[in-house]
Structures are given as C-alpha cells and as structure tokens.
Symmetry: C2
C-alpha cells in the first residue's frame, strides 16, 4: 500500500470534520468532498473549533500541519487521495452507490474505508472496483480526540488492507481495534446500543428523566469505563477469585428482569470463555495489583473532573468545601500562634506526581508549596468572600532548593515560617519533609504580593487578615533565619 | 433523624469493606457485623488496601479517622449504630430475614439501608419494625472511591428517610441519586446489565473476546462516560440542533439488529421527552459550549491515563514516542547552534492549569520549565537509552520570578539559555513568553546536577552529551547575562 500523505474525505458532517481536524493536526493533507458547496465554510469552522483541544493533547513535537482543500467533486477527491474515508448518511443504498463511484476514480492501491456505525463491509464493498482495498473504519465522536477506530473487513477484503489501515490510524494517534467478525453494529455500537435502548425504554415508561439516567452512569460506572471495560471491572468485583466467583454470585441475576434484554444461558463453555478471556486481560497481574491501578486512575480522573466542575468532580468540590468549612469551625477561625513554623500541609506523594526518574517531579514540589500557602491563607481568613472583594496574594518570586527525593505514596508534610511582613508583602519559608523520619526533602523561599485583582496592582492587606498575619509573624520573629534563605542560584566552590 | 456518628454494617465482603473504608476515612465510627469471625481480618486488610487511594482523593483537611469495631452479633451492631447499611448476598429471602432481625434491635429513628443491586425496597422492607426508615442505598465498587449511590424508597418509606440518607451520604463524599420509581435493577444496573448481557451474547456467539469488547468501550465511549452520560453525549452528536436531529438521523437504526434488545417505538411523546430532558441538562449552554467542556475533560483524562499507561493513555504514549522519534530524525539528531536562546517549548495554557485567581497556577510555570528542560535534554541526546544507563540530570535549585499573568488557552513558549556548564553541572536560564506579543511572563534560573541515578550521587556528564552541551554553551557564551540571574528572594528598597 502507498504512503498516506493526502486523506480524501467524502461527506463533511460532524464525523467528516472530525477526521479532517485529526489528520491535519498530525501533518496529513486533506481533500474534502461534499456535494453541497456551503459545507466548506461549515467544515473550516468545525476544524477551527477542534483545534484548541487538539493542540493541548500532547506536548510532543508535531510535524507542520496538513493543508485542507475542498471540492464538490467526489471524483476529483478520489483522484487526489492516498486513503479515502467515506462519511455520508447511514443508508445502505446511498453508501453503496457513492463508494462504487469513488472506487472508479481512485487508484487501485488507495484504501477506501467507511465510517459506518453499523453496516457491514461485505454489503458495502459489493459494487466496488478493487473491493479488496475496502474496509469499515468506524470512529467515535469527537473523532479528533477519541482514539478508538473499529476496523472490519468484508468477505472480499484483503488482509493487507486491514494491516495498512491499522498503520495509518496509529500514525494519526488512534487505537485501531480489529473486529474479526462482521455483525451489525460491529462491537462498540452493539454495546452502546443495548444501553441506549434500555434508556429509551426507561424514558418511555416514565421511570426516570434523561438527566437522572445520565447521572446513573457518570457518577459511577462511567468513571470506571474510562480505564477498564466491564469484563475486567467485573473480574475485580469477584474478589480474589475473580470472574468465576463473580459469575457464580451474580449468575442468577441474569434470569431477573434487570433489563428487557434476555441473557444467554450461562453454560460451562460460556463461563470458561469469560474466565479465560479476563485472565488473558489480567496478564499475570493479581486482583490486588489491578485494584491499585483502577483506584489510581479513579482518583486522578476525579481530580481532573474537579477542575472542570463536571460529574464526580462537582461532588468532590462540594465535599471539599464542606471539609474546609468544618476545619475552620474546628479551630474557631483562629490559627494556632506558636513560636514554631505552621504545619500547613500533610499529604501523600501521588502516583501521577512521579516522573520518569521514579520520584516526584519538580512542578509537584511547587504544587505542594502552593497548597501550603492556600492553607495558610485560609487560616488567616482569606477565603472566597475575600477573593470576591478582589483581594488576593500573588506569588512574585520563588526559590526552591531540592535536598532529597520524594517517592511514590510517601507521606509528606510542609511547614511554613513567616520571615517578614509589610503592608503589601508576605515573605515566607517552606520546608517539605518526609513525614516518617522528618527528612528535609526541599525548601522554598517565596515573596507574595497582596493585590487588587480587579485592577491587577499591589494593594494593602485588609485589616482583619493583616492583624492575623501580624500575630503569626510576631510569633515567628524569634525563630532562627533558615540556612537556605537569601540564596541565589549559581556555581559555588565545592 | 439522628446525627450519624456510628455506621453499622451487616456483611463485610467487598461492598461492606468499601463502606467501612469510606466512612472511617471521613470520621465516622464503624461497627461491622459478620457471622463469620474470620471476616474481621479480611475486613481490616481490605480497609488498609483502600486507604492509600482514599488518602489521595483530596488535600482538604479531614476530621480524625473513625474507629472500627467488629462483632459477630448483628443485634449488637444494630443496638450501637446510628445508621445501618446491609450488604449480605443478593437473595431476597435472606435479606428480608436479616433486615427484619436488625430492625428489632435498632432504635426506630435509625435508618436501615440495603446495598442491594436490584431488589426493590417494597419487597425488602416488608417485615421490618418501623419500615418507614428503610430505603435502598445502592453503591458501586469501589465504594470508597465512586461517588454514586442510588436511593430508592419503597411503598412504606417515609420521605424524610430519603432526605436524611441523602444528607449522610453527601457527608461522606457521595452523590446520592434519588430513584423515584421502583424497578428491578434500579437505574444504573438496568443500563449496565443491558450492556453486560449484550457482551455475554457476543462471547457466547464467538464474535469477540472479553479483551476486544473491553477495548471497544475503553478507547471510545468509556472516556466520554466519565464526564457525560449517553443522553447528553448524543445531544452533542446531533450538531447544532441536538437531540431532535440525532433522533431523526439515527432513529431508523433502532429497528436494525444492532443489539438483541428491541427498542421502544420512537413516538412523538418519547421524542419530546428526550428533547426536553436533554435541553434541561444543557441548562442554557449551547452545543458549542458543551462540546468545549467535553473536549476539555477528554484531553485532561487522556493525559491522566497516560501517567498510568492504561487504555487511551497507552495510545497517547505510543503516539508521543513516535512523534519524538520523527522530530529527532527531522533535525538529524543535532540541535541548532546559534548565538540565541533555544526555543525549547511551544504550547497553550490548558484550562486545568488555571487556579481560582483565573490565571495559570505557580506549579504549572515550573511544569512548563520542566518540559522545556526535557526538550533540551532530548536535543543533546539524553533519551530513554541514556536514562537506562542510570545517567540523568536532577534539578537542585530553581529561582522563578513572576512578571505577568498567563491566561486560559493563551499560546506560550519557553526559551532556554545556558549560563554555564562544568563536568557535572548545567546552569540555565528560561524565559516564559506569551507567543502573541512576546511579553515576558516569568523567568527561571536553574541549576541541574548530573547524577548516577543507580547510586544517587553526582557523576560526570557522558562524552557525547557533554560535547553537544558544550557546543551550545559556547554559542550562548556571547549572550548578555539575564537581568534576573543571580537574584535572591527578599525585601528590597522600592
């Protein structure tokens, strides 16, 4: 098969535009054909809309972007393309007709693929010239972000067509899944469609709203499905004996009316296939190991969702708000004033904070110091109300000295000492310690400037907050100046 | 209803242990009852296994952990608890019997809830003393991490029981979903079960393996479901006209054999319910706005999964490896040597990098500088092979000066200048610029020490890498020393 420099697209709706955005982003030229000329503007707009998210997918260096051209002539597109992807509406006769037509204008070594959600390749390739180069390549919306593409060959499809298509889709960042048997809906849409039809029944029966049914997935199983499928998840639910135990425990439920879809008989053969399949997926990893992996990604995903205030991330936000309020109540809104640095943070090194060197990456030290500052701020009354009045501290300068490595899951803590305070500036010194033996892992000296955030300029600290900070600063005045305070970066005599 | 200080558990398998871990973590005492005394050790082990992930869920301050006690007497548990959660096997008669029994030992204002996956509350509460305080509270595995809990009342359940249960579950960080109608399997399991039974049919028919079917979800729809459910997702798939267009386009597919589950008739009433429901979910947000939200979380989740090398994260890793190899080929493995700072990073400020002040948070500046160093390292030949020989640079000291704010989605870049180099130390100066107008947003002066990572001690830089770095340092020697180099943090005369 030929190298793919130009992707030809037939049909430029949501799916066609998604293909275009992805291919262009990874350096492939695109020639898009649509019989409606007004689709060109729509297509360019859709690609522009996809770009900001795509641009953030990876920091890795990208080749120059591909070039987009548009034509109302499918024949012209077919003559110019190295790989053709068809995305016209889901109607068998229509697809058969346009696929046959473009096959007469495309060189015989040009792969022609269909984005069909569920029509089968044997039906679609029937009238093609050189039908061996045809396959189904079914993507998922948004095509420019989701990696899955189902590849299905028909009775006439050549094996090398699937292999070459896999190579091309991997090149543009996708995960090609070879569907080895033709069935209506392929694999993914059969599973999605079962869930979707059950939803429609529930709405039709008046049992729940669309919103409630979405919640029923988003706050629970949906979080798991981002990293593991139902089979592996149920293997874990079975405890130490995995899928076999799970089927023994929940097998009887398959006879119950938990969905309108009747289950197959749970024969010994079926049980064996489920057990062998999930054991292959586990690939020697114990239930405990897989649980740890599942737990790690579930925690990290919820923290990501919190940033966007969506789904389980909203729940986490609400929880944290309550915890902060309760914690404030516990200390009577007054930080303890002692002649010793404040303990401002106590946490664990999270697996996603580890870099390729096997220990905590630089930016996470600064994140820990930032969380420590947030705790200090809250303890002196800087909260959402304070920020709502356009008052806040900004970091203006920060000097971090690394002393030793922090490792995965280690408990760590931060103490904070106030070095000086004036009407606008807060000068602090943090120590990051390993909790188990109080080993010093890093220090940070920072200058924070109090600002009027509406005007983006320095402004005096408000009265009540100022006096609380002064009490703290006063109690810290007797502490010795840290050895690492006042340092600059530069070569020193050893 | 009474304040919940002690949670009583009946049954201590995977679900019971999950409840215990969650409650203890958020400061609730737990008294766990299981007729098998050997379950105590199992339970304590399961709780210990849950704790590392739970401890990483939030940095917010937590109350002191709850205290766990174990008893083989359900009656004793019931007498001591403020809220009881039953988790015995999914058998109606068994559950009815134990629920009735504990209801006779629990004060009448103690809520009794069942973790049943799909039995209905009217059946379960039949023999209870004070049946009004009973409801179903169905959680999801792992209970200590997933926020969803379905609350279902039976015919005898008092409305205040649901309200009080909601309050308790929110307190321990959960999202209570009130299921307003009793149906077998409640809401979530009906949807999960439809998908699960379709899986079993596919395995039974020999169409695919468990692993292929898991891939069919994990790399595609599963990523979406972490943040939005099928209804909202399909609303987006309909383009500007949303759910109504989607149903018009894919309605006919409901008659096709894409699953063994037959769909309901797509009547005008059903269409209206779907459209009104999803419009309520959109809550005034346009399709474009919702697309942006979806895209933002899809990008961020894939980056999280990359850390764990799972699902779509593995695809992203493979893509990046290929891109780095291609980029290296492009420059012939030789960094450009000019008398000007290297352009080491070009990216965008990602939405998840923004903090409550509305601009890029401190730690992300350091992350950008870290990514810039990685690019510099790769350009001089420090790659996986180099690291595999236990050689690497560690950051020992870093001084960041903030100049201006970086805002969401702004394109930014980093340039890097070598200030000095000796056999073990690399002294650099980064500038973070806003790409549109080259405004200086921050600088970082850093000292990096070359180490033997196996021995965790300083070691000379290897020959080839050293000579490449020397060429660069030589070309940078003529550059003026940056104004901010050599600074220390501290109050200055204004």
């Amino acid at each position: 098969m030929r190298a793919v420099r130009t992707l030809g697209l037939l049909g430029t709706g949501v799916i066609g535009a998604g293909w275009a955005a992805r291919a262009l982003h990874f350096g492939i030229d695109v020639v898009a054909a649509d019989v409606k000329p007004e689709m060109e503007a729509w297509l360019r707009d859709a690609i522009a809309n996809a770009e900001p998210a795509l641009a953030r997918l990876t920091l890795a260096p990208l080749p120059p972007k591909g070039v987009l051209s548009f034509t109302t002539s499918p024949a012209e597109m077919a003559a110019r393309a190295d790989f053709i992807q068809e995305n016209v509406p889901e109607q068998l006769e229509l697809k058969q007709k346009v696929l046959a037509e473009i096959s007469r204008h495309a060189a015989p070594d040009v792969i022609i693929a269909s984005s069909t959600s569920g029509l089968t390749p044997t039906d679609l390739q029937r009238d093609l010239r050189a039908p061996g180069r045809f396959c189904v390549a079914h993507p998922f919306n948004p095509v420019y972000l989701l990696p899955l593409v189902e590849l299905v060959g028909g009775q006439q499809t050549a094996p090398q067509t699937i292999a070459a298509a896999q190579e091309f889709f991997r090149y543009i960042g996708m995960h090609p899944l070879h569907v080895r048997h033709e069935v209506p809906g392929h694999l993914t849409d059969r599973l999605q469609e079962a869930l979707w039809r059950e939803i429609l029944h529930m709405i039709n029966d008046g049992v729940a709203t669309t919103g409630e049914l979405d919640e029923s997935i988003v706050y629970g199983p949906g979080l798991r499905w981002a990293g593991m499928g139902t089979n592996l998840i149920y293997h874990l639910a079975g405890g130490e004996s995995g899928m076999r135990h799970m089927l023994a425990q929940f097998g009887p439920c398959l006879k119950w009316p938990w969905t309108r879809l009747e289950a197959p008989e749970l024969t010994a053969t079926l049980i064996d296939r489920m057990v062998e399949g999930t054991q292959a997926q586990a690939a020697g990893r114990s239930i405990r190991e897989l649980e740890r992996l599942r737990d790690d990604y579930l925690v990290a995903i919820q923290q990501v969702l919190r940033q966007f205030d969506v789904g389980a991330g909203s729940t986490l936000r609400a929880l944290e708000q309550r915890l902060y309020v309760d914690a404030g109540r516990g200390v009577g809104g007054q930080p303890a004033v002692d002649a010793q640095p404040l303990r401002t943070l106590s946490t664990h090194v999270r697996p996603e904070w580890i870099d390729y060197n096997g220990h905590m990456t630089d930016s996470r030290y600064v994140q820990a110091f930032g969380d420590a500052m947030d705790a200090l701020y809250r303890s002196v009354g800087i909260d959402e109300g304070y920020r709502a009045r356009s008052r806040m501290f900004y970091t203006v300068e920060s000097h971090v000295v690394h002393k030793a490595e922090a490792h995965c899951n280690e408990p760590i803590e931060v103490t904070t000492q106030i070095l000086s305070l004036d009407e606008k500036r807060l000068h602090v010194f943090h120590r990051l310690l390993r909790t188990s033996d109080s080993a010093l892992l890093a220090t940070a000296e920072q200058m924070h400037l109090h600002v009027d955030t509406a005007q983006s300029k320095a402004a005096p600290i408000d009265g009540e907050v100022r006096s609380r900070l002064e009490r703290l600063a006063g109690s810290h005045a007797s502490l010795p100046k840290p050895v690492d305070a006042g340092r600059h970066v530069g070569p020193r005599v050893q």
